[in-house]
Structure formats: C-alpha cells, structure tokens
C-alpha cells in the first residue's frame, strides 16, 4: 500500500496530505515532483493536493493539468489505480479531463475558508466505504473557485450515474444547492468518475483528521482507502 502526493509549483497542502496519510492514517506516502513523468513503483493511490498550482493564474489547475506527471496519472487511472484530487487537485482533475465539469469562482467572488457539512452520497467507493451512506461529515473548505459547473444535460447524466459523492448539507441532513457555500450546482462538493476510482472534492479531509485541530471526520476517508487497498472493502 503506497501513496504518492504530487507536488506542483504552488501546491501548499502537499505536506498536509503527507502528514495525514503517513503520520495519522498509517498509509506510507511520498512526494512526487510534477516534472517527473512516471509514478514511483508500486503507487496505489495518487493524491493531487490543494494549493495554487502555478499561482492558479490562468484558470485554476489549468497549467498543472498539463504537467508531465499528469500523463503518468492518466495511465494510472485506467489501470484501476486510485486518484484523489483535493481542492486545487480537484480543479486539476477537471482541467485534465479525468473528471467532468469545471470549477468556477465562488458566487460571492470571495475566498471562503469555513467548516462545511457534507452528506456522503455513496458509501460504495474506494474513498468512502467506511462511512454509512447519507452520513453527515464536517470538512473545512478553503477556496476561491469551488462552484462546480457542468452544462445541464451533462449534469443530469452525472446525477443519474450517481457520480456525486459529497454534497453540501445542513445539520438536519438535507443537502443540495441551497447549502452550497459557493454557489456549486446541485450542492456538489465532490464527484467520482464512472469507474469510481478517481475522486475530486473541494473540501479538505486532511484538515479534519485530528481532534486537536477540531475534528476527525476526515479519518473515514483514509480508512476507506486503506481497507480498499488491503482488499477488505472490495
């Protein structure tokens, strides 16, 4: 069981994810440089961490999505390897075409850093099998471009395919657009590809992984990945 955390120029949650995986979840994890064109031997999980790759200057994630390591990630995914994009990493995955849609500026045009309630819409993915379906979890968000957008028909298809994994929610368990802090369509906070092995989400599970820092709801994600990789959850 091995995880690789990609470091783009401007990534700033790479060390956080390495800490969460390595020190807290017990998943051996190592950084990978964006200029590398192959993943380290034996990589099971690739994480694209949060941050401002290339300053997010043209479009968030656009320049990172064209870096050499992404070519390797493109080969990793069809093999069934796990790919997790968090925040900027989610933006990179959409820009790379590994996940559908785009992430636009928050509807209030401001950066939002805040705890958020999410409803886990699926518990049959490699990333969420430790959560009961419909569970409410709290992960913080911290982004300026988190409004998930997809043209109408495609959005319907996405929903029909049950690709939405995390949805912004209220404490009473209701979820949907009304609870999007950022204007995200249908309240979408995280989605998977059809096969279910590539997940992108705006909220930060690695920031919800220690009691000292205010919450441990994110541990479920690491535990899910662990048991999936150990074969138990398949």
């Amino acid at each position: 069981m091995n995880a690789s955390v990609v470091v783009f120029p401007g990534s700033n949650c790479d060390r956080d994810v390495l800490h969460a995986l390595g020190k807290i979840a017990g998943i051996p994890a190592a950084p990978v440089w964006h200029k590398d064109s192959v993943l380290p031997e034996g990589t099971d999980l690739v994480v694209l961490p949060g941050g401002f790759s290339y300053g997010d200057y043209l479009r968030c994630g656009a320049m990172a999505a064209r870096s050499p390591i992404i070519r390797a990630v493109r080969e990793h995914a069809p093999r069934g390897g796990l790919v997790l994009g968090i925040c900027n990493g989610f933006q990179v995955l959409t820009e790379a075409g590994l996940l559908p849609g785009a992430l636009l500026a928050n509807s209030n045009l401001e950066f939002i850093c805040s705890p958020c309630l999410l409803r886990v819409e699926r518990s049959d993915t490699p990333f969420t099998n430790a959560y009961p379906e419909g569970a409410l979890v709290q992960f913080p968000i911290a982004h300026h471009e988190g409004l998930y957008f997809l043209p109408k028909e495609e959005l319907e298809k996405l929903e029909d395919n049950r690709q939405v994994v995390f949805r912004y929610a209220a404490a009473n368990g209701e979820a949907g657009a009304a609870y999007s802090p950022n204007g995200s369509l249908n309240g979408i906070a995280g989605i998977v590809n059809l096969r279910g092995n590539v997940l992108g989400l705006m909220p930060h599970p690695e920031r919800a992984s220690e009691k000292l820092l205010g919450g441990t709801d994110g541990l479920g994600m690491w535990n899910s990945i662990k048991s999936w990789l150990e074969g138990g959850a398949r």
Binding site: P9, G10, N12, C13, R15, D16, H19, A20, G50, G51, F52, Y54, G55, D56, Y57, E110, F111, I112, C113, S114, P140, A142, H144, H204, E206, R207, S209, E210, L212, L213, G214
Partner: protein
Amino acid sequence: MDYQKAGLRPHEYETIRRELGRDPNETELRIFGVMWSEHCSYKSSRPLLKLFPKEGPSVLKGVGENAGVVDAGEGWGLAFKVESHNHPSAVEPYQGAATGVGGIIRDILAMGARPIASLDGLFFGRPDSAKTRFLSNGIVKGVGGYGNCVGVPTVGGKTLYDERYEDNPLLNAFCIGLVASDSIVSSQTAEPGNLVVLLGSKTGRDGIGGAAFASAELGEDTKASRPQVQIGDPFVEKLLIEACLEALEKGLVTSMQDMGAAGITSPASEIAAKSGVGMILDLDRVPLREENMAAWEIALSESQERMLLIIRPENLDAVLSLGQKWDLDCAVIGKTVEGNRFILRKDGKIFADLPASLIGGGCPEINWPAERPKDLDLRQSFEFDPSGFSADLSKTLLSLLASPSLKEKTWITRQYDSMVQVNTVQGPGAPLSLVRIKENGNLVAIVMEALPWSCSLDPYRGGYETMARSLRPLWVAGAMHLGMTNCLNFPSPENPEQFWEFSEAVRGLADCCKDLSCPVVSGNVSLYNESAGRAILPTPLVCSVGILPASNFPLLPGKWKEGDLLFLAGIENASIPGSHFQSVLQGRLAGRPLPPSPEMETGFMERALQTARQRLASSAVPLLGGGLGIAIGKEAIASGVGAQIELELPTHPLALFFAEGGARALYAVPAAKVPEFIRTWTGFPFRMIGKVGGDSLCLPHSEPIPLQILSNVWKGA
C-alpha cells in the same frame, strides 16, 4: 541632483561628506537618500528603542537580525516579527497589503525558518464611508490573496475602526516561523571570497524610493508621486520559500537576507557591514525585467520576491540547479572581499564606492524635541456621568456588540485560509491564536493587541496596558510568554507633542516588558502616518508569543457548560476612559486609563497559569475590548448557552460592565472545581457573578436577551 531632492537633511549631507572625504556622486546620493530615510535608518526612533529590554533566557537570537528567535523547546526556535505596510496600503490597498504580507514572510524566511502563521492588524476609518469600504475590501483581499496562495495560514489579527484612520489606514503584518535552533541563519556570517547570489524574480522599476515614500506624509498628489506600485507574486514567493529552505537544508548557504525596502542595497550592505567584509556587486548581472535601467534604479528597485544568498563558490552549481528546479531566476551578482568597501559596478564603471557600515549604520540620530500636549490636562479631566446613558445593561451590551470594532469579523476572517499546514488549534475569533508545532508537540500562542484610544489619552499608561493586555490571554490559556515584537505606528515625529506621545508610549511598553520579563525580540517603526494635518491616533501594536507544553491542553473560551459558575477575577472598577463604551457611546475620548500595576499583573499571571494547568475552569477569557459585558456576551454566543448574572451592583453598573483595563478575566467554573478555584484565586480580587444556563442572557435589572438575538446582533445578521 542636490541632496535635498535625495531626501537628506543638511547635517546628514555634511556627515556623508565628512565620512567620505569627498562629495558623493549621484548614485551614492540616491543610496543615502533611501538608506537614511526614516523607514530604513530609524533615525528618529533609535534612541527610544534603546529602552526596550532585549535579553532573556528564552531569547536565542535577539534584536539586530531580521527577526528575533525564541526557544520553543526540544531544539526548535520561533522567529517572529511584525511590520507595517501602511503607506502602500493607503495608495493601492490590494497590492499594498499583499506585498506587506510577502515582505514579512521573507523576513522570517531570512532567519532560515519555515513560516508557519501570520496575523494582520487593520486600522480603518469611518466604517460607513465609501473610502473605508474601498480600502478595507482591498486590504483584506490583499492579505488573503497573498497569504492563501503562499500557504501560510492567517490565524488571527486585530481590526479597529476610528475616523482618525480615514486617510491613513494601517496594515501591520505579523509572521512567525519555525527553525531548528542550530540552523538559524545570520546576516553576520559572510566571509571574504563568497559569492553573492540573487534568487527569485527579475528586477524591474517597482517601488523605487518606496522607503523614502514611507518616510513622509501622504500628500494630496499621492497617486502621482507614487513611483511604481509594487506587485506581489505569492506564487513566486512560495517557490522562493521552498527553494531557500531546500538550499539551507543542503547546507549551501553561508548567509542570507531578504530584500525589502531599498532593494538590493539594503541587504547587501547590511551583510557586508555586519559580517565585516567588503562587497563588489556587478549590477549588469542582475536579471532585469525592463530595459535601460540605470545603476541606481537596479540598486534601489523594490521588486518583490527576491532573496540575497551568500554562498561559497563550491556550492554555486548546486544553488543554480535549485533555481532551475523551482523555476526561479538565479544569478551571481557579485562577491565578498576583504575590507569594508561596498562597491557597485555596471558596464565596467564604478557607480558607488562606500564604506559598508556607513550606508546602514551611519545616519545620525535625530533627537526631536518632545512636549507634553497642551490640551492633555483638559482631555484627561473626566468624571463619569452615567446620566446621559441608558441604565439598561442589555441595551448597552447590544449596541456595543454591534459596533464596528467589536462585532464579528467573519467577513474578514473567512477570506483567509487559517488552516493550511494543519497546525491551527485556535484560529481567528478568540483572544489568542494557537498553532501546533508538529516537531515537538508544543503549542505556540500568539496575541496581537493595540489600544490607540487609551494611548491617545495617556500614552504611557496606554502603552503599558497594551503590552500587559497582549500577555494576559497567553496566561489565561496556560501559556508562558517567550517574547514580543511590536510595530510603532505614529504620525510625524517632527511635531513635539506627537513625539512626546511616541516617547511616552514606548516608555510604557518598555516598562511593562521589564516588569513582566518579556524580552523584545524584533519590531518596526512607521512614522509620518498623517495627511493634510490629520494624524492617526498613537498606535503601538504588540504581538506577544508564548508556549504551551504538549502535555497541557489550552484553556479556551467559548466552552461554557450548563451549571458552571461564573467568576470575575480582577478588580471591579476599571476604566471608562479609552474604552469602547466611551468611544462608541460617548463619542469623545476623555480621562485617564488605569495606572499600571506590576503586582496585579504578576499575581494574575501566576493564578491564571495555575487555573489553566489544573483545569479549574471549563472556559476562560481575559477581559478585553468592551470589558466584562462584552466578554459575557461573546462567551454566551460562542458557547451557545445563556447565563444568569446576579451580583450586587455598585454605584455605576455601567462602569462595572463596560470599563476596560487591568488584569482581569472571566471564568466559567464547574461546581466541583469551585473550592479549588477559590483557593487558587485567594489573595487576588475575585467574585462570583452568576451561573451558566438557559437560552437567554439575563443581566441585572435588564430585559433578558435571547441567545439568538444576542448572536444576530453581534453577527450583524
């Protein structure tokens, strides 16, 4: 060019001529003009700064470097400093604030430390003016835009509104970083025969003369006179941080300095002077962004995101390849030699040849005359007359809670990433911020404080109280202070009354530091914060840093439990003068704040630390802005539970609830802990004032306030 145009005074010019034994040439004159400006030379404040105590057992590296370093335990040090970027933020709020944040981060980096947290101090004018809206939006976006991208969490700050900041808003940026104690970088370690390397962005005509600009009043034609606005590039700064830390880790760096005011000249001459070496720089080797730049422009450009590295020749290849790895410009621009000359060459010609120590250290001090303000007695005469105010405590509490300086600051704090680096134990919204050190498990506690209203009434007492108030939240949480840094924001020192206020405030800060053994490890002075005769309030801002051992969980606010008993620790009769009550509801500052009491402070410190360490309370807050009343209100909101306040009222209930100052705190104590709590606080004034419970806040003889309303009013909902 004559010396006055360069910004020099006659006796300064004479000093230069005498020291050089000749007339300086034009490039040299411009260098002195910038390096001997107030901003770079501290000529008006140096005599005052000598008052600060700078030594202490916690100090690993004191004043004299970019930032002081204190001992964080187990071989780790904390480098921290606060700096102003007031003038630039007044002119171009977004970029002014952004580059302020970037600059302080590089200061911390220059110590070899990884920046782990930032705080920002914001002082704005009239809350409802279009100008304030423009400036505050821009400044907040600038702080966030830079900090979020560079990946340093903004974990707290301070925001105050007063019309005296209308034309001169203040932005003070604080940063703290973590460094292994045996790897602290110094500017005193260059050796002859080293190479001088410039790493980071290309150089353009940005902010040339910015330091001089920050050393004069803002004029009517500020926009026109502003040379070239500095643009921050947080993305490049992030790369620069990683590249420098990697270079340090690999042992490639002999000495290092950040580039801020006065461009290349400042760090280069500083390293030369402090290390006792000479330096020759070839300005044509500086990577440029613009064409036809003159020698002096290259030497003084304040282009951002650059660091100056001093390295041994054998490490050059490794450093160059690091530059390549991180997509940064990296060039050898000179070398160090024996001697003390600082020489600038371009195209084979010598443009400056100066003794290195003269550039940064030669400017004569100015001892401005000080004069106690003539109207001070009048302003200080004050008798509290409650008759003009509503006697209803609930009403008063609500109107204060809704006042701009006290109400919730979420519109600001949610634009800041306060959690990146996964160390934030307490982010914005509490009297102190707490950041975990992964390397040793300890928690760093940080408080930013400023009390301009008190300082304007009595700068000595105000300064003392500011300092004490920055320490109390540390103690209440259970942290012991390690040191402080400060930013002295004042108007022109050339006005004797203003200089008197400046001196008195510094004396107040310094006395408190001495009384409570808190060393001053770094700081910054920003003068001339006035325009068109309108001066800012005297605004010394302090950031105190403390440490909490990994084994002690902090005692935090916002944790009232149903049934807890509420205790006020400290005196009951604090001061209305200088308080939010006075400023907001009376609309006029008058009287004198409380006199200092070192005995009360130390008595409070010991008991507060003990209370926290023995967990004698569920929740605790020091009394800060708005006094006891606001503390009760905010605790109720944060805890989501009400309280019944019951106590015998003094003659002036308003003063009991809303006066400020002094070593005081509000504790919520579980019934079982009450005897121990009482034993701990015996010998210090304290009393029980009520009980936690219910869903309203009930103040004596006043309408109960439903929690929902209390919270909505505070949040401005």
